[in-house]
């Protein structure tokens, strides 16, 4: 066997090893953030969304039609926000060259999972604002949760989305039309989509670059 063939095989083996290690690292990172439990909770919320539709929680023309789905979306969002908390603290920061990428991947994956699971919760039932509004609301509130995590730390990151959800409930009752309260706007409203997307992007960038505030030795 020629040396170049040996070198190729060695390079391929190294690459495969790296990929295997990368997958392993990603899995361990996800477990450390309790992502499996987070996914289970989101799935449960999706089931509640579906059951709520069958119980006519979202029928009629009152504010309740939008209020309850927003709250269930907020439930998924607070799970994402709180999962940013690192159980390792400074040790991870000192060793975390790959950490920003892991954080980015985790947040994006969880947000996508939240949207997907909640969309699955709509199977067989009708949500008045549909999947587009669900995706928009989830992304926007996730951005708020991530921003809150960088300010207050992962464990308290729920405060921002809960406050926003409470304000949204008020706004829906009072028929506000500000695009900053994107849930109160029609599903394909450009201003609302832009606002929600902007907040999401800011949150993702902050959590990727800075990570959650390290409230020491949590």
């Amino acid at each position: 066997m020629s040396s170049s063939t040996l070198n190729e095989r060695s390079a391929l083996r190294d690459q495969a090893q790296r990929h295997g290690l990368g997958a392993r690292l990603t899995w361990l990172h996800l477990v450390s953030r309790q992502v499996p439990a987070a996914l289970a909770i989101m799935a449960a919320l999706a089931v509640v969304l579906n059951i709520g539709a069958r119980l006519n929680w979202y029928s009629g023309d009152g504010a309740l039609v939008q209020q309850v789905p927003v709250l269930l979306e907020a439930g998924a969002v607070v799970v994402i926000a709180v999962s940013t908390r690192s159980p390792f603290g400074e040790v991870e920061l000192a060793n975390g060259r790959l950490l920003p990428g892991l954080r980015l991947g985790t947040v994006l994956a969880l947000t996508a999972a939240a949207m997907g699971l909640m969309a699955a919760g709509m199977i067989g039932v009708h949500l008045p604002d549909g999947g587009a509004a669900l995706a928009r609301n989830t992304a926007g509130m996730t951005g708020i949760g991530l921003i809150t995590a960088t300010i207050l730390g992962g464990a308290m990151a729920w405060v921002g989305p809960v406050a926003y959800a409470a304000i949204t409930e008020y706004a829906l009752s009072a028929s506000w039309q500000s695009p900053l309260i994107w849930a109160a706007r029609p599903p394909h409203d450009r201003g609302a989509v832009l606002c929600a997307a902007a907040v999401f992007v800011v949150g993702v960038v902050l959590i990727t670059v800075r990570g959650p505030r390290n409230t020491v030795r949590e």
């Binding site: 409230t215 020491v216 030795r217 949590e218």
Partner: protein, 246 residues
């Protein structure tokens, strides 16, 4: 005797962490040595009344910790520092020690003086108002010692108390233990044989859930004669381990 243990067993599922330990401890400083997984922490947790034994008898300060009233009385006279100290980051040093003083049902009028004294004894007098999350690991360990001794306990259980302490602090700690040992029973679990040599009047070694040695530090040293090792107690420790593994 302040600690009387007969045939003590503790199982966790299928694992027998403590297998028929017999031990008596009177006042003074008593050391507990052993490799990782020997059962020291499980034995400690039983003595601290955190977990009950699976079988065997355990009497602490002449009382049966299996009885609710006796257990409460024991806990009033007990000081415990676990291997992994938990704490509330926002509390100050004094508040954290005060909190445990109150949980130990110390007479409230005596609490402030007791807290100040305990904090001074561990050398954190100038850090009394510092929040716990601002302290180093060694300082946190000393806070843990302070909360263990704040109620002038008759039985003090310290699991790895000198972890994170610098040499000078370890010397101070050993002196403190000898002082406390004059009127109380101190049981020290440690990997550092120097702590045993400097503080303890008696020492036991655990291996695989049983007591492999029970005697004085000098007796342990004598077992190690002719063996290789950096220090006499280490040589004795190795000799005992070799004996039980053989």
């Amino acid at each position: 005797m302040n600690v009387e243990i007969n045939g003590l067993v503790r199982r966790f599922g299928r694992t027998e962490a403590v297998r028929g330990v017999d031990l008596t401890v009177d006042s003074g400083v008593f050391g507990l040595l052993g490799p990782n997984g020997a059962g020291k922490t499980s034995l400690f947790r039983m003595m601290a009344t955190v977990i009950p034994p699976t079988s065997g008898t355990l009497r602490l300060l002449g009382r049966d910790p299996g009885n609710h009233h006796d257990r409460r009385e024991i806990r009033r006279r007990l000081g415990y520092l676990p291997q992994n100290l938990g704490y509330y980051p926002r509390f100050t040093v004094a508040e954290f020690v005060e909190y445990f003083a109150l949980l130990k049902e110390m007479p409230p009028a005596r609490v402030p003086a007791a807290v100040a004294s305990a904090v001074e004894k561990v050398g954190l007098g100038d850090k009394a108002r510092a929040r716990l999350h601002t302290l180093s690991g060694g300082m946190l360990r000393r806070v843990g010692i302070a909360q263990a001794i704040v109620n002038n306990p008759e039985l003090v259980l310290l699991d790895e108390p000198t972890a994170g302490l610098d040499p000078e602090q370890r010397v101070d700690f050993r002196k403190l233990m000898r002082e406390i040992g004059e009127t109380s029973t101190v049981v020290l679990s440690t990997h550092l044989v120097e702590d045993i040599g400097a503080s303890c009047s008696r020492v036991a070694m655990m291996y695989n859930g049983t007591i492999a040695f029970n005697g004085t530090p000098d007796e342990l040293v004598s077992l190690g004669e002719g063996r290789a090792g950096d220090a006499p107690l280490e040589r004795g420790y190795s000799a005992v381990l070799a004996g039980v593994r053989a």
